[in-house]
Amino acid sequence: MLEEIEFGFPLLTFLIFFPLVGAAALWAVKDEASIKQAALAIAGIELVAAIVVLLGFVPGTAAMQFVEHARWFPQLGIGYHLAVDGISVLFMGLTAFLTVLLVLYAWDTVHLRPKAFYMSVLGLEATVMGIFLSIDLILFFVFWELMLIPSYFLIKLWGTGSEREYAALKYVLYTLLGSVFMLVGFALLSLNYHEVKQAYSFDLLELLSVPVPFDQQVLIFWLIFLGLAFKAPIFPFHSWLPDALVQGPIPMSVMLAGIKMGTYGFLRFSFPLLPEASRNPSIVTIVMILGLAAIIYGALIAIVQADFRRLLVFSSISHLGFVVIGLFALNVQGIQGSLIHMINLGFSTAGLFFFAGFLYERLGHIDVRQSSGLAKKLPLLATLFLILGMASIGLPGTNGFIGEFLILMGAFQAHWIYGAIAVTGVIFASAYFLWYYERAIFGPLKAGLPAALRDLTPREWAIGISLSVMIFWIGIYPSPFLRMINGSVQAVVERLDRGSLATPTVDHPLISRWVQD
């Protein structure tokens, strides 16, 4: 039998379906105030459940934990299989955390159809949870697609830009386009499984037990790559991102920029299932070049942006380049750094989107050409803004440093030239953020700004403080987080080293855990 750690209560099912049930229940609520309170309560309970999982999580092992397994389409080998391991557990926590902040943010800012809005947000939370908790490929795919529904409505109905309808559709179509390829990739994996075991399976753990011929691996790798690249988005598949994030509402931008589902997929599926392809030198070189291009391309475009949200979009693309090169460094430091960096972006980049929202609420725009000297009027906002910005540019002591340092360290060891090129991103990042900060926040107070600018409201303050706490916690004392992810990262690297074609040996931690049939 598979060695998996189970938990008495189906906590993961609860994490996925509780927000859905909550969203449905919201339907019955009438007035706006109660809707908000109910939504906050639901998101809060979800966060508590997520924290229970985090606390109950056994660190330092690659084992699947809190496992739930039920049959779904047995003849196809599709199962309802949920679990968390070191790769997914922090994403689960981050999703719950950000949703609470989203609800807080929306409290004073969303007045249009609040009921539908909170239902969409909770629906989004449920589907994103599903993505991170699914171990079955088809189950994963279903959530991957379902996630588009609430996203579509969020962008289209509550977007702030005039072209939000276009942006919403573009987002959906791009992701769909990618996921078709991914689905074919999944199906090919299952077919390969059938060749060996005479039965279909879409279960990650079962698929791991079967070697995949190298040629097939390469094809499947690129198919899955397309699906992930569009979603992530990896340069040059990113062109939906500026539209979705600039036209869409802040909560959607926070989710899309903060929760890195695309790059998560590499760690979850590509690396373990396709180790020979993932470490193939030509594939690694191609992906590394895309990553490095993203770092510099994103950063240089970010420098010249006047609109802060567009700046953040390209900063996101640049940061994602870091994540990609860390992953494809294929060593412990790089992958660990990427994983922690993906989480970090959920605090820093997503946090900066909140602050873009705070500014937008006050000024009606976030164009640097029309505002300066905000520090004078909004000192608290300016301070927290700076903390988030420093985290984003990777100042030591903030979480951003831990991720970037490990990534660069990993990339440098893969090949020094990767590290040497990527390190320029560190310089450009300081340039684009500080130049914006210098013009928007510093400088003399611009005439024509609204006379009554209010500094942070208590709810905004709560958002800023909770983000800052996480930023400093991970920055100063990251070991709890590193310990949680270490076991799984180690296992993935070993799997990459040994490959799927090698005969499984019992002493191999990953194989022995997953494949003792």
């Binding site: 529904i149 030591p396 510093f442």
Partner: protein
Amino acid sequence: MFELLVLLIPLFPLLAVLVNGLFGHRYSHEVAARLAYGSVFLSFLCALAVAADVVADPQPREVVAYSWIFGGDLSIDLAFLIDPLTTVMLLVVTGVGFLIHVYSVGYMHGEEGFTRFFTYMNLFMVSMLLLVMGNNYAVLFIGWEGVGLCSYLLIGYYYDKVSAAKAATKAFVMNRIGDAGFLLAIFLIFSHFRTLDYTTVLAQASELSTGMATAIALCLLVGAVGKSAQLPLYTWLPDAMEGPTPVSALIHAATMVTAGVYMVVRNHAIYDLAPIAMTAVGIIGGTTALFAATIGLVQNDIKRVLAYSTVSQLGYMFLACGVGAYIAAIFHLVTHAFFKALLFLAAGSVIHALGGEQDIRKMGGLRQKIPITYAVFMIGTIAIAGIPPLAGFWSKDEILAHAFVQHHYGLYLLGAIGAVLTSFYMFRLTFLTFYGPSRVDPHVAHHIHESPKVMTVPLMILAALSIVGGFLGVPPEHGLLHSFLHPVAASAGGAAHESSTGLVVGLATFATLTAFAGLGLAYYLYVVRPHMADEWARRTSGLYTLLLNKYYVDEFYDRIAVEPCKRLGDMWDWADRHIIDRVVQGINHMTDKGAAAATWIEKHIIYGGLNIIGYANHLAAWSWRKLQSGMVHHYATIIVIGLAVLVHLLLFWLTGATPGSYAMR
């Protein structure tokens, strides 16, 4: 006990940062100030206690706080290394830092951002202490970037001034260029040694190949050049003078900018193996020393003259490292901390007296009006000019003597010419400020007053240190400082190259004479014949303009780096909006068709075959319609669910097919 003392050193200012930062608005400025300088004073006391321990037993000791970053074979502790080098730096940082904190209480009195100022200053102390205390490169880097942040915040202290805001950004970004080099050095070190702890790395350094040692040393040098404002990354430092004057004294003269020197000395085991890197350090130091001094000759802002002088003096320290005179470098670092902090704070006192005036063309004749400030400024000037027996003479002379004795005649020449210029521009500054007729704005003139005790007492202490500080290194090569630092900073080549006493005395005499030459020329030009200087400036107007405009280096960097980056960004931005988007829109049309096809299949085939899902789809669409009162296109819903259905269909179809025939090769 020892561990606790070590941990407390950075902890005290950290506590003050937290308390003042979070609750500073709730109590008076006075309380905030007391917390701020009190915490630094406590750190200083701890540092003294630690120093006493180290003097008794110079064996290096490590204190581990906790495990910071780990993964694979990488393991980095937040840990401290206490050895004689760290001890010297600790005493300078906390001691001079404390005096500057006290002075700031008077200087910043009544400022709106008083508490903010002290929070940043204390945060700087924490970072600087981490920098000098860390036992590995990563902790050094925390401090390294931390001091950069504080420098940024304090340069931008008057953030509503555009020039201050710009200078802050410039300082941070230029420092980051250096930091990137430093990061590469760290990665190289880790790749080679699989650890970042100094103890292991430096002990095994001798196993490095020359090529690898050179690579590491040069990458470290890039970092040092950025932080210590050497050629070619020095241009941020003069602009940094936008910060309040105590900041210039603490960060941009006495401590932060010397971090590069500290780093090179700390890693001298690696530099000793890399002659090319050593030469680079020496050349950068020597040319910077001279180059910055020439600019200093003609500047009219009292703080800018001092800023260029700082760049130049840091150049001497690099020069010292370049010729292997590491102890001399640290010696000069220490004396420079005394007299440059003194000069900046005294300049601050002048500025304070004149209500903010910094232009020396609007000063003059201040000797009688602010006598204490004048006296200490004069002491600082004599010290930096290298006139014995004040501090600067001993340390600078030791550096130049080293260069000469080790046959680095080119570097010696650069340093010697720089020394004449130093003496000249410093006395020029003193004479223009304190001598001659008053050129002070009449509105300001009758407000001129000596600074309060809280400012003058630190000045007097620093003046005393500037007078006697040099005796730490007397007799040359065998002073107190030398024997203390010998275990950690002695050059591998063996510093004891015995040179004849005659040569040493000869060089010292020559150095003294050149210092007096500079003094004499300045006296003649600015006191005896005040119009001569203008005359000379007119006659050499080309050169004068070139110097006044700082060789147009800023403009040059704008042209070759800043502008191209922005242009490239603009170009790519345009391409991103127009080209990449258009390409993808092509695909978009295709997907539109694909989506339409999917919808068609869904409507005509799947609804028939899989009623339940069709109904579910209808139900969902209906509920959304209901929910949005018809506002919503259910286009996307249909696509998504349709695709999910297609998946099912595909899989059912696949189950029917023979896997063997279908499977790809």
